[in-house]
């Protein structure tokens, strides 16, 4: 079937306000979901789950959070890694301290705790922006490192803040093998992505974007910057904190503060820049790209080396990775601030008109 919206006339605003107004897009997304939930678990081997798919799902969730704040509300954060740590350790504390705490509740409470802390670290955004705000959010990193290394209570008195969880289950369903972990994270991501989409197409999302695009005009139509900015920090931190809890509980199972370093904050920021600022889809593109690139380079570069007779060391590969990231970020910031998501939609636009471009 051709990619066309001919004949799909919207006869109500409700139809026009759907998430995917074009029928082909709806079918595509249903197809992707069926594929992801049904086919992938049957087809994929354990290594792929552990090395690519589970990290991709969890980092997509975190990237969604970063995108809400940076892409939709126009604020900046270098605290995403720290917020993941807060989510993970908060969920851990709820989980071990309260007898019989269901896993889902622990994880979500991890998210809520992060939201509260996020609001606190968002307060400087009411006065400063840009670089100054970046530095203020970076403080979150030092704060969490200090808290989890120096205050033993938060880490159940373990040395150097390393903790672990085991025996995860939800209503009798054991989450102990790669497939169940994958499905668990996929479920989270699907629901959270839907929530994010709904917020960004409602009044709250318009408030965030208005603040991002022109804050004086936003105030004049009655948007309160305080509420708009702090709600963006809260929702964003909720997403990031939940992702952090999943990262700790499901992906790592045992972790220490170093698992959530400032490198993670930068990585998440790169994801939304490359994937597409202000785009839900872009968060997925960016996460996929950044998770897959190092692995792809690991596979491809040695082959290229063999063919050309140049010896490429492991260090060489990780340097190549940094160079490519750097180059791409510069490219996207200058040429296409809306990232892969915009390239994608431009492509679709062309396809809609194909084969007659005028």
């Amino acid at each position: 079937m051709l990619y066309r919206e001919n004949g799909q006339f919207k006869t109500s605003y409700a139809a026009d306000q759907q998430i995917f107004p074009i029928a082909q897009d709806r079918w595509a997304i249903i197809g992707i979901l069926v594929f992801a939930f049904v086919a992938v678990p049957l087809l994929v081997d354990e290594y792929l789950f552990r090395a690519i798919l589970i990290p991709f799902l969890i980092l997509s969730l975190a990237a969604l959070g970063v995108n809400i704040l940076v892409g939709y509300c126009g604020q900046i954060t270098l605290g995403a890694g720290a917020f993941m740590a807060i989510g993970a350790y908060a969920a851990y504390n709820f989980h071990i301290r309260i007898e019989g705490m269901p896993l889902l509740v622990s994880l979500l409470l991890g998210g809520f705790t992060t939201a509260v802390v996020g609001i606190f670290f968002g307060i400087p955004s009411l006065r400063v922006r840009g670089l100054y705000l970046a530095v203020a959010t970076l403080a979150a990193q030092f704060f969490t490192d200090w808290v989890f290394l120096r205050i033993p209570w938060f880490t159940d008195n373990s040395s150097s803040g390393s903790v672990s969880v085991s025996n995860l289950h939800v209503m009798g369903w054991q989450i102990n093998n790669p497939v169940s972990k994958y499905l668990f994270c996929l479920g989270f991501l699907t629901i959270f992505a839907l929530l994010a989409k709904n917020m960004t197409r409602s009044a709250i999302g318009r408030q965030w974007m208005a603040i991002r695009d022109m804050d004086v005009a936003a105030e004049v139509i009655g948007i309160r910057p305080l509420f708009a900015k702090l709600s963006a920090f809260a929702v964003s931190s909720f997403f990031i904190g939940t992702a952090g809890a999943l990262w700790g509980f499901v992906h790592l199972a045992s972790w220490e503060p170093a698992a959530f370093s400032v490198d993670r904050s930068f990585q998440l920021l790169f994801m939304v820049i490359i994937g597409g600022l202000g785009s839900i889809m872009g968060s997925f593109f960016g996460a996929a790209f950044i998770v897959i690139l190092p692995i792809a380079l690991n596979q491809i570069l040695p082959v290229v080396g063999d063919l050309t007779g140049i010896e490429i060391s492991t260090a060489g590969i990780s340097h190549a990775e940094l160079i490519i990231f750097g180059g791409l970020i510069v490219f996207f910031l200058i040429k296409e601030p809306h990232g892969i998501a915009r390239l994608w939609s431009t492509g679709k636009e062309k396809l809609r008109l194909w084969p007659f471009p005028h």
């Binding site: 605003y13 409700a14 026009d16 306000q17 929530l195 709904n198 917020m199 197409r201 409602s202 009044a203 709250i204 999302g205 318009r206 408030q207 974007m209 208005a210 991002r212 695009d213 022109m214 004086v216 005009a217 936003a218 105030e219 004049v220 139509i221 009655g222 948007i223 309160r224 709600s231 929702v235 202000g278």
Partner: protein, 260 residues
């Protein structure tokens, strides 16, 4: 005309505003009556935009008072002004560039939204119903301004004249009782100006909206306004009906003389 000019709805008393050493406004008083079109004119830098910014609380005057429907505001702020039914357009268009026309207009409905963040996240109940109801309202504004063909276009991609129209649309979506327009026709060609004039008169006539208008085009001002305030170097040098203002010697020498 169906409209009937009413009582004083907005009264400015001895407003003075300065930026460091620059006196933008000095001891300005004037009033605006319900349903009228009130123009503010004056040469460049006279303080016209500052005046609008004082009215809706973007600037805080050092001295003076704003009385809105009998209520005294010594400290107006943009949120209070919006709540009180004041909306405005900007001299340098201040649209939300990353959003399309519909979304820009939908932001104008912001103060009327009752659903909370959680309901919106689940696209549930009140959130969903509101979204539909406000969309319908916004479509009325779109029809009124004849911009149906661009409703899904990101505003950054629109030509200047249409951006000005969308700017007006966003202000109208608030269903204001007082509308402040800062040079809505600046930089437009004759045809676009005529359209804009027609929209302003229609808004005033059909919805009874009180309008405070800054405009440089004297022909337009004399044509559509009920009363005119003239500013020069931050001082008021004339106030009255267009004919009286046009005959005022101070105005002729300071304003008309200077710019022609």
């Amino acid at each position: 005309m169906s409209r009937q000019i009413g009582e004083v709805i907005l009264d400015l008393k001895q407003v003075s505003l300065s930026f460091g050493g620059v006196k933008a406004l000095t001891d300005i008083s004037f009033d605006v009556r319900e349903h009228e079109i009130r123009a503010i004119i004056g040469p460049n830098g006279a303080g016209k935009s500052s005046m609008l910014n004082v009215i809706n609380g973007v600037y805080r005057p050092q001295l003076g008072e704003i009385i809105l429907r009998g209520q005294h505001f010594s400290k107006m702020n943009p949120y209070k002004a919006a709540k009180a039914g004041i909306s405005r357009t900007f001299q340098n268009i201040a649209l939300f560039k990353g959003m399309n026309v519909i979304d820009n207009l939908m932001t104008g409905r912001n103060l009327k939204i009752r659903s909370n963040l959680i309901q919106q996240a689940f696209w549930w109940g009140a959130a969903r119903r509101e979204e539909l109801a406000h969309r319908a309202k916004v479509e009325e504004v779109i029809d009124f301004l004849e911009i149906q063909h661009i409703r899904k276009t990101p505003v950054g991609r629109l030509p200047y004249g249409l951006q000005k129209r969308v700017d007006l649309g966003r202000a109208l979506a608030m269903e204001p009782s007082i509308l402040l327009l800062d040079e809505p026709m600046a930089g437009m060609n004759v045809e676009e100006k005529q359209d804009m004039c027609r929209f302003i008169l229609d808004v005033n006539d059909q919805f009874g909206t009180t309008i405070v208008l800054i405009e440089h085009d004297m022909a337009v001002v004399m044509d559509i306004s009920d009363r005119v305030v003239v500013l020069d170097y931050g001082k008021k040098i004339g106030d009255g009906e267009p004919d009286a203002v046009r005959a005022n010697p101070d105005v002729i020498s300071a304003y008309l003389g200077a710019s022609h």
